[in-house]
């Protein structure tokens, strides 16, 4: 008797997302076929490109790091009942805060600069979420709209700074000067070499571990602290929370700032891990994909890490696919992401009924 709900829990957490993923990939294959390439070969390139060799794995986990941060960001806000679509802008501002900290503390001490960068990224990301958060909490302004507007504003602000005050002296590109020498997060291959494992060079760096720690911290916050509990109560029923004596505006603002801080930390991976300078629009839509990652991961930190690795693989494999097939560009990975979001994120129960019927049939057979 007790086994029944457990099986359906497994079904809903693993089997259904997998089926949705397969359907999204089938449809992506249809698009590939439509533009005149071989879908089976494309899938081969995608998987080979994502997991086929050490460098590919490094890239997959490198992109996954971005998605862990943005996925956690969306999830934290969602637990408090809000949609933070401003991950893009918060990540951009986080990157700005990180860069300012690095230039400010770079001459003092590398370690201090890196700590400053982490704090700066989180602080600026949280700050950029603060205004939409306050407007939502105090004025009831639609957070979805305001955060989207803040994305556009952040993008323009960064564009201004990178062709103005922050531009590399004498440079033509919208980018800052390089960070001072030695101020970077350690790469995975360097780290693994310390313990005697050789790994091909890739952009994968320590921020992956920071992201995993952030995932654990989010889990701890939500499940083991009083504030996390308050957040979830507010998210599930703001009215009830109010009567229980929880300050809904306060919880909303803090939750959204935490969300912004997580999004802001994405820059650790992109900028302090790989680019080593601030570049315009380095966020490349990772903030939006965070929505999909959060939903596919069922808003659970562990699920988010898994979903982030999946999206990292799609991103990296999609890029390789663009190199291998002449008619396919990098945009194809955006198509796959969109379809995965549609099926796994928006229609999680699409195949619930047939699966339930199937498992029910198996069960009755088992009883006979």
């Amino acid at each position: 008797m007790n086994a029944a709900p457990k099986i359906s829990g497994v079904v809903s957490a693993i089997v259904l997302p997998l089926i949705n993923l397969v359907v999204a990939l089938l449809l992506s294959g249809f698009v590939v076929w439509l533009i005149g390439e071989d879908p089976v070969a494309a899938l081969g390139f995608l998987i080979e490109g994502a997991f086929g060799y050490e460098e590919a794995i490094g890239y997959t986990f490198y992109y996954a790091t971005n998605f862990i941060f943005t996925g956690l960001a969306v999830s934290v806000a969602f637990h408090a009942g809000h949609f933070n679509i401003g991950g893009e802008g918060q990540a951009m501002l986080g990157g700005l805060g990180l860069t300012l900290a690095v230039f400010w503390l770079g001459d003092v001490s590398p370690l201090l600069a890196i700590i400053g960068a982490i704090v700066g990224a989180a602080l600026f990301g949280a700050g950029w979420a603060y205004i939409p958060a306050v407007l939502q909490a105090k004025r009831g302004s639609h957070i979805v709209i305001t955060t989207i507007m803040f994305n556009f504003i952040a993008s323009a602000l960064l564009a201004y700074l990178l062709v103005g005050p922050l531009q590399r002296p004498g440079g033509q590109m919208p980018e800052s000067s390089d960070y001072p020498d030695g101020i970077a997060l350690t790469k995975a291959d360097e780290l693994l070499e310390l313990v005697g494992i050789s790994f091909e060079q890739s952009p994968l760096n320590v921020s992956f571990l920071i992201a995993l720690f952030a995932a654990f911290a989010v889990w701890f916050l939500l499940r083991r602290t009083r504030f996390g509990y308050e957040m979830r109560v507010v998210g599930q029923n703001a009215e009830a929370a109010k009567y229980a004596g929880i300050s809904v505006p306060k919880v909303t603002v803090i939750a959204l700032m935490l969300s912004g801080a997580l999004a802001g930390m994405m820059g650790l991976n992109e900028l302090l891990g790989e680019q080593l300078r601030l570049i315009g629009n380095f966020t490349l839509g990772y903030g939006f994909v965070g929505i999909a990652v959060a939903f596919m991961g069922r808003n659970h930190p562990f699920g988010i890490v898994l979903a982030a690795i999946l999206f990292g693989a799609i991103y990296q494999g999609g890029a390789e696919l663009g190199f291998e097939m002449s008619k396919i560009t990098r945009d194809m990975s955006v198509v796959i992401q969109g379809l995965v979001i549609l099926f796994a994120g928006a229609m999680p129960h699409l195949f619930k009924r047939p699966i339930d019927a199937l498992s029910a049939r198996f069960k009755t057979r088992g009883n006979v």
Partner: protein, 323 residues
Amino acid sequence: MEFLTDLVLLSNSTLRVATPLLLAALAGLCSERAGIVDIGLEGKMLAAAFAAASAAAVTGSPWAGLLAGIMASVLLALIHGYVSINQRGNQIVSGMAINILVAGLAPTLANAWFSRGGQTPLLGNEARFTEITLPLADTLSSVPVIGDVYSNVLSGHSMLTYVAFASVPVVAWVLYKTRFGLRLRAVGENPEAVETAGISVVLLRYQAMIIAGILCGIAGSSLSTALGAGFIRDMSAGKGYLALAAMIFGRWKPVPTLLACLLFAFVDALQGRLQGVELPLIGEIPVQFTIMLPYILTVVILAGFAGKMDAPKASGIPYEKNR
């Protein structure tokens, strides 16, 4: 006198810029009035812009383009409808999925079909909706003020601009004066009551999605076959989101939404005119700051008006029949 010329030019471009914004905002209005949040306006517009430009490029007819644009947008609207109505999925996730999907799919297909780096071929005037000169506009242009406004502000737009402005009274009439409109509004406020009256919530919401799809399809087509001459990557550039903001500012009502769209379009037209202009006292404003203007305005407006109060009550909430 120069000021007056400026004002005329500014008003003219305001109407131009308002075209896609207004159509998309009305699309969002129809959808939300029926209880479905539509953040996928952006993606539907982009899809329609691409489909319209492609069809117009291949057939040489803007009408074929418009038809293709509407079909693409309606198809996406039906997908959003299926997710929201049948699957009772999260409507914001569904809308974002559509936006991301189209942002990737349009350049992918454009690249495969036309091999121009994700764009469609430049459309000649015969494949576009070109500017129409209203009757007597030339003769009246010498009449001071009225003639000036008639021939230089109102005349000389593409047909789709006139369609956009005509849609406002049509949508208002359908919503407030027809039985269908009454039911549509009811289904966004209290679907249980509608169902109790023996009317299908599902059917009504699908009808609303189709209307929204058509309006959004015209909006997208206007981007690539009237205002522009071909599809460019990301050419909707946030207009779908601005339209949604205009609709909220317009409190989910057609005429206030029109005014909100005109305000946004005016600011957008103004930022175009401000680029590179020396202002007294301030000097030249960097272009990146003028680009921010419409977005900052949106935030300020939403902060000034608590938008929650007027939203259709069942908006965004999936309807479950047997509760």
